[in-house]
């Protein structure tokens, strides 16, 4: 070794970067100092099975499933210098007993074995103990198919039980809250739910009672798990002990298709996975995004989604004749709307867009307003009480996007003036998309009756749709592609999990067709696909930085500094900094 740089030992080279050298299954890698052994193994792409460990929660190390073999160099005797091998590492003295990988941190020159006789025997033993009292009701259990116990018992379990005694009886089918059912016999006492409710939801209603083999997870007497984040315990439960009333016995998980999308119930834009079979949504689960929602989502958002199979969905274009809505085809409805709108002067028409629309749809609404010559283009503001966790004070998911796309610092401000003009009769016709004006914009049914013409794009038979002269059926947020910008300025994308029911169309197409019907003949730069539209938008707004729909990463990307932060993420960052959680 003549090269001058190689005189430096690997430990010194790693120390310069704040790293340590760890040997995992025979291979040396560098990981940051203070990394948990289980995370180091994850970096080395070696799987360490575990139940109780969760990066967002503290590590009590109570499931014992993550046992691995560990070794450190022998401690030199007083006065003795450590000796280094040809590769620059000290010889590892392997410990004869295993350690848990989740609660121990790595050290310089440490060795970890995730395979081998000792480790495999340990896993087999732990699995056998966990399965002693576990009921074998996988055909009934909802978790089957995504159950860690099921997976690891295939990999590390015995084929049959040596336990001939009677299994311990525990409470089954306990209603611990309005949305959650608990089956104590299935529980493996990993305590993830207890820690979640204590550390993240800050509502410690769950806890262990009894001891030893009789240990039972239960709810504090007289309390219920009513917390708005309670259903996250169902997601993190590695077995089927906690099940959601909403999804319970609805469908086996292996039939469901997963689509990554974002939640549109508030400005946070929590990342979600939509689980569908055919054209029906079965459940929504949070998708990890450490910048937006960590691994969690509020129950109120999780349970409110629009499904194509809902009863109140609009499935055909409607034209009102003598006060009764009649179904018609798109061509007729578009022509009727264009003809009717042409009867009015530009200053008699208002266009009401929505901050529930995607950037693409808002851009089309802006084009529509300029086609009509109207400068009355507004959105409806929608506020709510924030919960200092994930629920934002803004109930609209895309207010930041609306400000950008409509090029207006506060597009909701114009709404009051529009309402006033509607009441005074100055505005005679409105085009409204994705909004129910009676619900959000302080307009009454009488005000709507004042108007001579209402053209609306709606998903359901709302009061506005009922008052409308021409109704176009639109798509809900789970049925369309598009992008939105959340309160913190993060550009994220929606993906279509279902197709719109019946004749309903994706909103941007409907607005485009209306613009075409108004202008008579489509111009050459009319977008033919959402990707084309997305390209036009990114070219028009420098802020979007060339992030077309296909280029936006799955976890989104921050494009605007709004100065707003998400309280739950702030808390998580603080806990990570103290080393309480891995994060």
């Amino acid at each position: 070794m003549s090269d001058s740089t190689t005189t430096q030992l690997p430990k010194d080279r790693a120390a310069e970067k704040g790293m340590v050298n760890v040997q995992i299954d025979g291979h040396w890698i560098q990981v940051p100092r203070g990394t948990r052994m289980i995370e180091a193994c994850k970096i080395a792409e070696k799987e360490v099975p575990h139940y109780c460990y969760h990066p967002k929660l503290s590590s009590p190390g109570n499931c014992r499933m993550c046992l691995v073999q560990m070794g450190m160099p022998a401690r030199p005797a007083p006065g003795e210098e450590p000796t280094y091998g040809d590769d620059g590492y000290q010889e590892i003295g392997w410990m004869p007993r295993p350690v848990i990988a989740c609660a121990n941190t790595v050290g310089e020159n440490m060795g970890i074995r995730t395979t081998g006789d000792l480790v495999e025997k340990c896993r087999e033993g732990v699995m056998e103990f966990l399965l002693i009292n576990h009921p074998l009701d996988c055909p009934i259990c909802d978790q089957a198919g995504e159950c860690r116990l099921q997976e690891f018992s295939v990999e590390h379990g015995k084929g049959e039980s040596r336990f001939k005694e009677d299994k311990v009886k525990k409470p089954k089918n306990v209603k611990i809250g309005p949305r959650i059912r608990l089956d104590d016999e299935r529980c493996i006492m990993c305590s993830r739910c207890i820690r979640f409710m204590d550390e993240v939801a800050d509502d410690p209603v769950l806890g262990f009672s009894e001891r030893g083999t009789h240990t039972t997870v239960g709810i504090y007497p007289g309390r219920e798990l009513t917390n708005n984040y309670g259903l996250n315990t169902v997601d993190i439960c590695p077995v089927g002990a906690l099940t959601s009333n909403d999804f319970r016995f609805q469908m086996r998980t292996w039939f469901l298709k997963e689509t990554d999308s974002i939640d549109t119930n508030c400005g946070t834009g929590a990342n979600i996975t939509i689980w569908t079979r055919g054209n029906k949504i079965f459940r929504i689960t949070p998708r990890q995004n450490d910048e937006v929602n960590s691994c969690w989502i509020p129950d109120s958002h999780r349970l409110s989604y629009t499904c194509p199979t809902d009863d109140d969905r609009l499935t055909a274009c409607l034209i009102k004749a003598d006060g009764v809505h009649e179904e018609t085809c798109w061509e007729n409805a578009l022509d009727a709307a264009a003809d009717a709108l042409k009867q009015y002067d530009a200053n008699e028409i208002a266009v009401i867009a929505s901050a529930r629309q995607t950037n693409e749809e808002l851009f089309m609404m802006r084009t529509l307003a300029s086609e009509l010559g109207s400068d009355r283009l507004a959105i409806v503001a929608r506020a709510q009480t924030p919960d200092e966790m994930l629920v934002s004070s803004d109930k609209n998911p895309n207010t930041t996007g609306a400000k950008l796309i409509l090029d207006d610092k506060n597009p909701a401000d114009k709404m009051d003036a529009i309402c006033e003009s509607i009441r005074s009769g100055q505005i005679k016709a409105i085009v409204v998309a994705s909004e129910d004006l009676t619900e959000a914009a302080q307009l009454t049914n009488e005000d709507l009756d004042n108007l001579e013409l209402i053209v609306s794009l709606n998903t359901s038979a709302s009061a506005t749709a009922q008052a409308s002269d021409i109704v176009f059926p639109g798509a809900s947020s789970t049925e369309k592609r598009g992008s939105m910008i959340n309160v913190a300025g993060r550009l994220q994308k929606l993906n279509a999990a279902c197709i719109p029911p019946g004749d309903a169309r994706v909103d941007w197409e409907a607005i485009r067709d209306l613009i075409n019907a108004l202008s008579g003949e489509p111009s050459n730069d009319t977008p033919q696909s959402i990707d084309q539209l997305s390209e036009i938008i990114t070219k028009s707004f420098d802020v979007l930085n060339d992030y077309t729909l296909s280029k936006i990463p799955n976890s989104g990307v921050t494009v605007i500094e709004t100065g707003v932060s998400i309280p739950l993420i702030d808390r998580e960052t603080a806990r990570k900094a103290t080393g309480e959680i891995v994060g």
Partner: protein
Amino acid sequence: MATIKVTRPKLTLLEKIYLPAVIKGLCITFMHAIRSMLGKTPGANENFNSSGLGVTMQYPEQKWDDQLPDYYRGVPALVTDEEQRERCVSCQLCEFICPPKAIAIIPDEIESDDPWAKVEKRPKEFDIDMTRCIYCGMCEEVCPEQAIYLRKDYAMTGLSREDMVNDKKRLYEIGGVRTGLVNKWNEIK
């Protein structure tokens, strides 16, 4: 490649005019006709139980059902236990494994006031589309609760496609009762 030369056989005059061979064949047919009139064909014995008109069985007046082996794969159907309890817990494994996707199940929760509420789950609807079923028996093989069996019925008929879909009620009618241990009724478990 080796070439094999085949020489055409030399035929006699009788062979060349074919008539003797034709007559020989007619004789065999005629003999069989007479024997079957007398009820003496091989199929008339108790093994084949035929009509005596040759080996032909006069279906559907005559059937071979009692001869079907135990492993015969006929119409798939649901079974109950001795006390008329549903064995199926609607785990949907048969729906998953079914190669032609003939099975459609909608699961349901057993109400908590039911004496067997501990079983928790049962099928609300269970449809097997017999226009799709290929009688492969995968559903029987995969069932963890021994609830679905291929029975010996094979004559499924219907006047419409809807008729050919066996619903839960019909499946239990065809399936009948099976005895034997099923763990989910076990109180200890």
